[in-house]
């Protein structure tokens, strides 16, 4: 188990967003966190990566309770996770190479020449070889997501979180991005936590589904079980998805 939230409750002011959620992330899987808009998916992801402090409950990464760690220990843990934000969150005034190099410069003793090699390797891994000197503004949405993924993978983290990776992308680009995620799991042995509501992606990539409804975890199990689940919001979600696809 690489990450775990236990009895997690989160709130924005008086509004409870997550209510007593307990969820594991298991090694080697693609866990898809699913639910309607506003159900707390991104909030849960942000708790997993330590960006938000829970109202109650615990967040554990690689066995360590995140909120009890001191700065050096947090640093060590943070280097083991990668995060792909919804809009990429690349630094707009820096080239792709500079963006991917940021974690390498921060957390390693590698020389500039070796960092450049790693950057080219990472960009090659996501299909962006040759794009090192381009600015984010010169890229398409799909390419920006890939570049952001390259940055998330810079330190070879065993665990990667993706927040709506295919948001705003066309179906073909989404398909390619899903293939990349599967490739990362199969060939590099990564564990991925993906927040999404794109049903086509879910069917392609999910090993396990965690379904949130109004802040509560109402389903946690394999994809095949989720599709035939009798839990009301889960059933409705997949029925609507089927009806939409046709």
């Amino acid at each position: 188990m690489l990450a775990r939230v236990e009895h997690l409750t989160a709130a924005y002011g008086t509004r409870t967003v997550l209510d007593d959620v307990t969820l594991d992330v298991r090694r080697g899987e693609i866990l898809v966190i699913l639910g309607g808009s506003g159900c707390g998916k991104t909030t849960l992801l942000k708790h997993f990566i330590g960006l938000l402090m829970p109202k109650s409950g615990s967040v554990k990464l690689f066995g360590e309770d995140w909120w009890t760690l001191d700065e050096p220990d947090r640093d060590a843990v943070i280097q083991k996770i990668g995060v792909l934000f919804q809009n990429g969150a690349l630094l707009g005034s820096r080239t792709l190479a500079a963006n991917v190099a940021i974690p390498l410069e921060q957390h390693t003793n590698l020389s500039d020449a070796v960092i450049l090699r790693v950057v080219k390797l990472k960009l090659r891994q996501v299909g962006l070889q040759g794009a090192e000197d381009r600015l984010p503004s010169e890229l398409s949405g799909g390419m920006r997501k890939r570049a952001a993924m390259a940055r998330a993978l810079a330190l070879d983290p065993p665990l990667v979180f993706c927040d709506e990776p295919s948001a705003g992308l066309d179906p073909a680009t989404t398909f390619n991005l899903d293939r990349l995620l599967l490739d990362l799991r199969d060939n590099l042995g990564l564990t991925l936590v993906v927040v999404t509501h794109e049903t086509a992606s879910i069917r392609r990539i999910a090993d396990r589904i965690a379904f949130l409804d109004q802040g509560r975890l109402v389903f946690d199990g394999p994809l095949k079980d989720a599709i035939v689940s009798e839990v009301d919001p889960v059933r409705r979600f997949f029925q609507i998805a089927e009806a939409t696809v046709g």
């Binding site: 707009g92 003793n109 790693v118």
Partner: protein, 369 residues
């Protein structure tokens, strides 16, 4: 192994380099340089690198080894790996790309060419500025009888945003400047019995120079930077492109309301600056220089000519145009994201202040030479 070997991360034994350090975060500092030096010193052309101390190899470690191998080739040495464990072999298979990417530094040997490029860039920039000036003036004049092409109420909103917020600051600074000028000159004038001329000094300097100039400098920092930042952000976010695709001219839609806003407010603010500055001088004259209020005011009225008022008014209009056009110019030319916006904001303020002072000198020569 000697402690020194542990510290530097490798040991050399019988012509073989044995790697002792874990490569997962690049190893100890300067490991690569140390290994390259060891390769260089080796008498053999083929050199073994023993990796048996490594249990696994990630992409960082594989890239490190690739760089070492390439640097070895540059030195005419072939570095090969021995003692490869299963974990290391897996990493090499996934991540090892010893591409001969030798980065040869490019020397800038053609200074004439660089100078030529600077001149070409300057020429193009001047051309862009001229185009912007001409287009701005054109649409500003057109706007006098055609109110379409920009949002309703945009001119009034800009005038309020530029003028109302700046009023307290300009008033306070002008008052203090007038007061300080009178205070500093009072002692000198008293020595010569020329107390009354403090009125002339304050009135003429505030009306001709200090009023419009201080107002312009303050507005350049306050409103010029805001205009540059707004346009630059719109450029970066493709909002200007969106306007173009909707058939709207960005200069007409975005810049012209700001031009009219500042053309309306700048003279008014300059008048406030002049009046309040003279008032500051008045207080010192009446309290320190034994002048009566009536005497002071009569002297002010006598000292000022119509030309002084016109020159102050013309300066305020010219300064206003310089501020808004330079802010728009740099805003449109932004490159990069947030950092670029910050950069053009600063550049526009500096350029506007510089331009205002040059224009002040030129107009001073025109009016008073």
């Amino acid at each position: 192994m000697a402690p020194l070997d542990q510290e530097r991360g490798f040991a050399v034994e019988n012509g073989t380099i044995k790697l002792l350090a874990n490569l997962e975060r690049g190893g100890p500092p300067r490991l690569l340089e140390g290994l390259v030096e060891a390769v260089k010193r080796s008498k053999s052309e083929r050199l073994a690198l023993d990796l048996s101390a490594l249990e696994r190899l990630d992409s960082l470690g594989a890239s490190f080894l690739a760089e070492l191998v390439v640097r070895g080739r540059v030195l005419g040495k072939e570095v090969y790996f021995t003692g490869v464990t299963e974990g290391v072999e897996s990493g090499l298979a996934r991540y090892y790309y010893p591409a001969p990417e030798i980065r040869v530094p490019v020397e800038k040997s053609y200074r004439i060419e660089a100078l030529g490029q600077i001149l070409v860039d300057a020429w193009e920039a001047a051309g862009d500025l001229l185009l912007l000036v001409s287009e701005t003036i054109y649409w500003t004049v057109i706007a006098l009888w055609r109110g379409d092409g920009h949002r309703k109420g945009a001119v009034e909103a800009q005038a309020l945003a530029i003028g109302v917020g700046a009023l307290p600051v300009i008033a306070m600074i002008s008052f203090l400047v007038g007061l300080i000028m009178a205070l500093q000159s009072a002692e000198q004038l008293r020595q010569f019995g020329a107390n009354i001329y403090v009125a002339d000094l304050i009135a003429i300097s505030m009306t001709r120079e200090m009023g419009p100039l201080m107002t312009a400098i303050l507005l350049a920092g306050r409103s010029g930077s805001a205009i540059a930042a707004e346009i630059a952000t719109m450029q970066v976010n493709e909002e200007l492109d969106a306007l173009r695709t909707m058939g709207l001219n960005p200069i007409r839609y975005v810049v012209v309301p700001k031009v009219w806003g500042i053309l309306i407010t700048m003279p008014l603010l300059s008048i406030v600056a002049v009046v309040v500055g003279i008032f500051g001088g008045f207080l010192i004259a009446v309290s320190n220089l034994d002048l009566t209020p009536r005497a002071f005011l009569v002297e002010v009225a006598t000292a000022l000519y119509l030309k002084d008022l016109i020159s102050g008014f013309v300066k305020s209009l010219v300064f206003a145009l310089i501020i808004v056009i330079l802010a728009a110019y740099f805003g449109f030319r932004v490159r990069g994201g947030a950092e670029g916006v910050g950069r053009v904001t600063t550049t526009s303020v500096v350029a506007a202040i510089f331009g205002v002072i040059i224009a002040d000198a030129v107009l001073g020569l025109i009016f008073y030479l």
